[in-house]
């Protein structure tokens, strides 16, 4: 290597604004994808657990197709197809859409798993005291399901942050793309890839820590 640590810090300082903007876009796009994907995923999970047979089949087809496809293919497909269809969505929107769809299939599975794991006796006890299904779902099923969903969901959120790097491939100015632009200017491959890697690591590590905190807080005493 023919540059020093001091030179790296110097270039880092010069590039601080675009890099920070990159971090902002990374977090924003991941957050959008997680929120949209979770909302959609809850419906997917509900459909898979309580839906009529034709609905369940259709939704199962959807999730199997999405989960069998690499995220990169989803992102590229979304980018090219939406671009051609004349739908005026920029790369960011197309990318976030793809990530949200990906997220929904995972969240759907998580929700389905958690709801089906609840003992049937819980629904019967709720029926026996005269609760309607929506009352049962809100007061008895969801609170129990959430405890199982939360840790795995936090994991999925971390996966989405990692997947957001794929948006750089379709030209979204996230942290990775911003780093690559600095690299193309300064030729400092090693330091800036390490730096980017470190930032992503820090974000995900923080999410993991947060997840364990949440798990502790929602623990039912026994």
């Amino acid at each position: 290597m023919d540059f020093s640590f001091a030179q790296f810090l110097h270039e880092l300082w010069i590039a601080r604004v675009p890099l920070l903007q990159g971090v902002g876009i990374t977090i924003a796009s991941a957050a959008l994808a997680i929120v949209a994907g979770t909302v959609l995923g809850v419906f997917v999970g509900l459909a898979l657990t309580y839906g009529a047979a034709p609905l369940r089949l259709a939704v199962r087809g959807y999730t199997d197709f999405i989960r069998g496809t690499p995220v990169l293919v989803l992102v590229l497909a979304s980018y090219y197809i939406l671009g051609t269809a004349g739908i005026q969505l920029g790369p960011l929107q197309a990318g976030v859409l793809a990530l949200a769809v990906f997220c929904s299939s995972h969240v759907g599975e998580i929700v389905r798993g958690a709801l089906q794991a609840i003992h049937k006796g819980q629904i019967e006890a709720a029926k026996a005291i005269g609760l309607t299904f929506s009352q049962t779902f809100v007061s008895v099923l969801m609170p129990q399901a959430i405890r199982q969903i939360l840790p795995t969901w936090v994991n999925t959120a971390a996966e989405m942050v990692k997947a957001s790097t794929l948006l750089s491939i379709i030209g979204v100015g996230d942290l990775l793309l911003a780093s690559q632009e600095v690299i193309s200017r300064t030729f400092m491959n090693m330091p800036f890839y390490l730096f980017a890697g470190f930032l992503y690591f820090a974000i995900n590590f923080g999410i993991e820590r947060f997840g364990r905190f949440v798990e502790r807080k929602t623990h039912i005493p026994s």
């Binding site: 006890a125 005291i129 005269g130």
Partner: protein, 257 residues
Amino acid sequence: MTTNPILEIRNLHKRYGDVEVLKGVDCSMQRGDVVCVIGSSGSGKTTMLRCINMLEEFSDGSIRIDGEDIGYELRDGRRQRKSEKEVARQRALTGMAFQQFNLFPHMSAAENVMLGLVKVKKMTRDQARAVAEKWLDRVGLLSRRDHYPGQLSGGQQQRVAIARAIAMSPRLMLFDEVTSALDPELVNEVLVVIQDLAREGMTMLLVTHEMRFAFEVSTRVIFMNQGRIGEEGDPKEMFLRPKSERLAEFLKNSSFH
């Protein structure tokens, strides 16, 4: 003026696909009756119980609680199922205690009892709390009101479950083998509670294997066999002088002496 029987079952049929589990059961109960249903597994006793609060659909016949048709009605000449909302309302006419307790694990004992009071009886949280504490005290568990099910023994959980059911002031209490899942030394604390409730005049229908209890506490015993009522009558009569061979066989095998 005759008072309605609390429970009136007429010609109850239930089919699971090709198998008929209940083949025309008749039963009626007056206020204050304590009826124990005994029989081997597969006799249909639990199924009959679960039809009363519509945890099971039934294929034919009628069930009336306090004069009200449960689950189905005749509309335009056809037997049709009532709406889910109507069925939910009717379920609150009875209370049920389950073999597996089925307490809500994410709620304390008090909150378990309060849930139905708040959501179905539309009480305020304060009113519900007062009622819940009264019934928890009644089953001897007031001091455990803020404990979670995971922190309670089996016998304690079942008593909370019973409190949860009676707090709803049901016309009829249904007990589905409530001591079968308990360790032997915990069975008695539950039977004592049920016995007290019987003494106070609660109308109860129990599916049970506890023969001594049936013998001593019930006003009537029903022996079910292969989807039909085999024998019915006073427990002392039935147990000491069984009229049918099948009942005699059953009593012999169930270590009742």
